[in-house]
């Protein structure tokens, strides 16, 4: 400090009297501060509240979907019904046509001790059994022809209405005519439960059945296989292409207008609405290339294009994180640029690339909109054997069930959402583990 500034300072205030404290509005300002902070906490709280509400809705509506009411009945595979021509070795066509609901009706009527002549009571009792009993009993016979003419205890699906009733999803206090189960049926259900012939068992069918218009026989089997095919296609198509593109852009590309254009392009593609990819798939893959509609192949290709920008962005970030000294070391030893990339940079970037890929895959797994446009909203009951067969996908199945009015389908779609969320959670968990495990700080 020079003398000049010293001299220009105001004469010091008398030290005896402390300077009066200025009013700088502290009280008001601290009030504002508290309010501001409260807004922040409220915002975070609201976000978390919504998360809890959503998860609560899904789980409370859906956890029951993993159990399914079944009825154990001693079915007599009467030869005159199953094998009317009495060959002892009926072919598949004969087995297909047999009147299995009759077998089930006879069995339940006998079990409940109803007078077979009482048509109304017999009909009420038969209605407790799922209409899917036709397929169930057919499969039982077809797998063991010696059963013909014999009696066998079989667990068969209860009707979805019975299922909902047993799970307590109906208000039983309303007037009898306005509820799907009448008092007589409720009595039968109680009777069966006491016999131990009606109980809730783990719902394997949810994972193995194809779609069905009957809630109790509708499952995610086709959707799971379709989604698995698509994830495989996304992985096989977009991982190599995405990694190759990133390597070029990050390691080889000169800085020029063209690479700049590609960059802008990729960033934009990452933000294009997913439904637009569906339009692309419809116009290019289905209309122009005539690939089969509703197939996992087209779905997989559309999702691949959609996932590509995510993978490219993640891969480029991972490549960027590899320090330049590693590159210099490799080049200094006389490694070619390709060798430098493939021997050193790429392996070091791999955890980051895989993390990005898994997150991209998880995103693709939950994507619905583009799949609606390429015809995956199809009623598919048979497993797709190849990616060219008609199939559906997990989120699309949720969409289709969500549009059904029946209470049992709400439960199914919530259950399907739980399955989807578990898959997503596992994938993200795996990605986090991968990142933690292999993350390298330079």
């Amino acid at each position: 400090m020079t003398d000049a500034t010293l001299r220009s300072l105001p004469t010091a205030a008398p030290t005896s009297a402390a300077p009066p404290r200025r009013d700088i509005g502290l009280k008001r300002r601290y009030g504002a501060e508290r309010r501001f902070k409260a807004y922040g906490i409220a915002a975070v709280g609201t976000g978390l509240f919504f998360l809890c509400w959503l998860l609560y809705t899904v789980i409370s509506q859906g956890y029951t979907a993993f159990w399914q009411t079944e009825i154990r009945l001693p079915i007599t595979f009467a030869a005159n019904i199953v094998d009317p021509r009495g060959t002892g070795n009926p072919d598949m066509a004969t087995l297909q046509r047999a009147n299995y609901p009759k077998l089930a009706q006879d069995a339940i009527v006998a079990k409940l001790g109803i007078d077979p002549a009482d048509r109304g009571a017999a009909r009420d009792a038969a209605a407790l059994v799922s209409a899917n009993v036709r397929a169930e009993l057919r499969d039982v016979v077809a797998s063991d022809l010696t059963l013909i003419g014999k009696t066998q205890e079989v667990w068969i699906l209860a009707n979805s209405v019975v299922d909902s009733g047993v799970k307590g999803q109906f208000d039983l206090s309303v007037e009898e005519s306005r509820r799907p189960l009448n008092d007589r049926q409720l009595g039968y259900i109680q009777q069966l439960e006491q016999d131990g012939a009606l109980e809730q068992r783990f719902n394997w069918g949810l994972f193995t059945f194809g779609n069905s218009s009957r809630a109790e026989a509708a499952g995610l089997g086709v959707a799971l296989i379709g989604s698995a095919w698509m994830m495989l296609i996304v992985l096989v198509v977009s991982l190599p292409i995405g990694v190759a593109a990133s390597i070029y852009l990050e390691e080889f590309a000169p800085k020029n207008k063209f690479t700049d254009f590609i960059e802008v392009n990729i960033n934009n593609l990452a933000a294009v609405p997913s439904i637009v990819y569906g339009l692309l798939g419809l116009a290019v893959f289905i209309n122009y290339m005539s690939l089969p509609r509703s197939s996992a192949l087209v779905g997989g290709l559309v999702l691949s294009l959609m996932t590509l920008p995510t993978i490219i962005i993640a891969t480029r970030a991972a490549l960027k994180a590899v320090p330049p000294s590693i590159r210099a070391a490799a080049l200094g030893l006389g490694a070619s640029k390709n060798q430098m990339v493939f021997h050193h940079v790429l392996p070091l970037a791999m955890p980051g690339i895989l993390t990005g890929t898994i997150i991209g895959l998880a995103h693709a797994l939950g994507e619905t909109a583009p799949l609606l446009l390429i015809g995956m909203v199809a009623f598919v009951a048979d497993y797709p054997a190849t990616p060219l067969d008609a199939s559906t996908a997990l989120p699309v199945q949720i969409y289709m069930w969500a549009n059904e009015a029946e209470r049992a389908f709400v439960e199914r779609s919530s259950g399907a959402i739980i399955v989807l969320l578990i898959f997503l959670a596992l994938m993200n968990f795996f990605a986090i583990i991968l990142r933690r495990r292999f993350e390298r700080r330079w």
Partner: protein, 494 residues
Amino acid sequence: MSTSAIILAVLAIAIAAYALARRKAAGIAAAETGKLHSMPSYHGAYGLFWAALPALLALCAWLILSPILATQDMRSLYPDDLGPQLSAFPGVADDMTRAIAEGIRRMPDAVRATVHQMPIAELSPLLAGLGVPVASAAQDWMIPAALQRIAFDDWSRLAMTIVVIGLALAGAAFALSRIRLRLTARNRVEAVIRSFLVLASTIAVLTTAGIVFSMLFEAMEFFHMVPITDFLFGTVWDPRFAAAGTNASGQFGLVPLLAGTLYIAFVAMLVAVPIGLFAAVYMAEYANNRVRSVVKPLLEVLAGIPTIVYGFFALITVGPFLRDISADINGLLTGTYGSFIQAQSILTAGLVMGIMLIPFVSSLSDDIITAVPRSLRDGSLGLGATRSETVKRVILPAALPGIVSALLLTMSRAIGETMIVVLAAGIAANITINPFEAMTTVTVKIVSQLTGDLDFTSPQSLVAFALGLTLFAITLILNVVALYIVRKYREQYD
């Protein structure tokens, strides 16, 4: 040979070429003085590429060109007048002839020899028996054309097999003959690999081009049938499916859809922006590490939930909840229990979409706020400003461009969102300012026009592409502006 057999043969030749070239290079290195320019394995790869690439390229070209040439060749046998039904659609005649050819291929040889004498009426049931149904519009003259087609395809396949395998062998032989001590095999192999990399990076550009052109072409088709001004400025959306032959094709007014899209997006932003922004500020400026490490991932869970789940949530829970609560409020106020919020409404869709966008806003804003240099923050706090004053007066203004671009990206997300509005917004194309009523959006209509049976010649289907183009254009502009701002903003602190 079938295509897959040819591919396998080429791959086998290529692998053999790899082994031979590698061995030859190693042999040369051992026999001659001097050092190989490239490692023997690169010589192997050199042989492999020469054997496989030209052959596979030729195969691709052949597979694309051959059907086109075959169709032309087949058409030379068509009569001048195809008949009333087919003359307008020669493509349909091609398809039918091709189907007949396919059926004839499946016949046993004895039957096949007699085919050329049959009339189509006799042939059709035979083909149907072989699993190839032939449309009733099939004509007699299609049979010789189909036979011609079979002959052409057989010839073409034979020629393709010879050419492709020949090329593979020639390529392998050429590569082997070139191998010597100073052959720059590595450089050549790497150049090929690099061109693969370039090719991969252009896929992104091709995708964009694919999106733009596919939608442009189909939309042009649509604008041939419906004037573009009617589409852009029409206020009525009523795409009734006209009876065949009539020209009444309904009205395709974009305005009600666009209004619904923007309204719902606006409501969503009203929910998401304050919550997201305050959450981000709280997390960046107030929360301690422990709170942050718990809350941040939890909020990000919201972002990881698929939109179909939000749609379901809106449909099953939020919609009925709002409807019932509005009935209660109405009952308290007026005594009549009528709900004034419909289960499917702008409010429902907007609210749920807003919830979905909270983590999007908060994580974008968080990145931007934490990117504001510490020195600015310290400068303000050092002057005695409170935290909230620092945030309001220093950090937010400094982060403003970034936040604006984050909001634009969020807006683009909201406009392009599909599943929530499909399930929660309704399908009635109203124009209303009452947020408790249903309104529909562009994305909802794209889905509803394209699910079910498709007819790529009707305006009812094609309008979806015009809508898609509109959607793409709007989101593209928002994204480009946002990315531009982000770039500028990054440079500011770099």
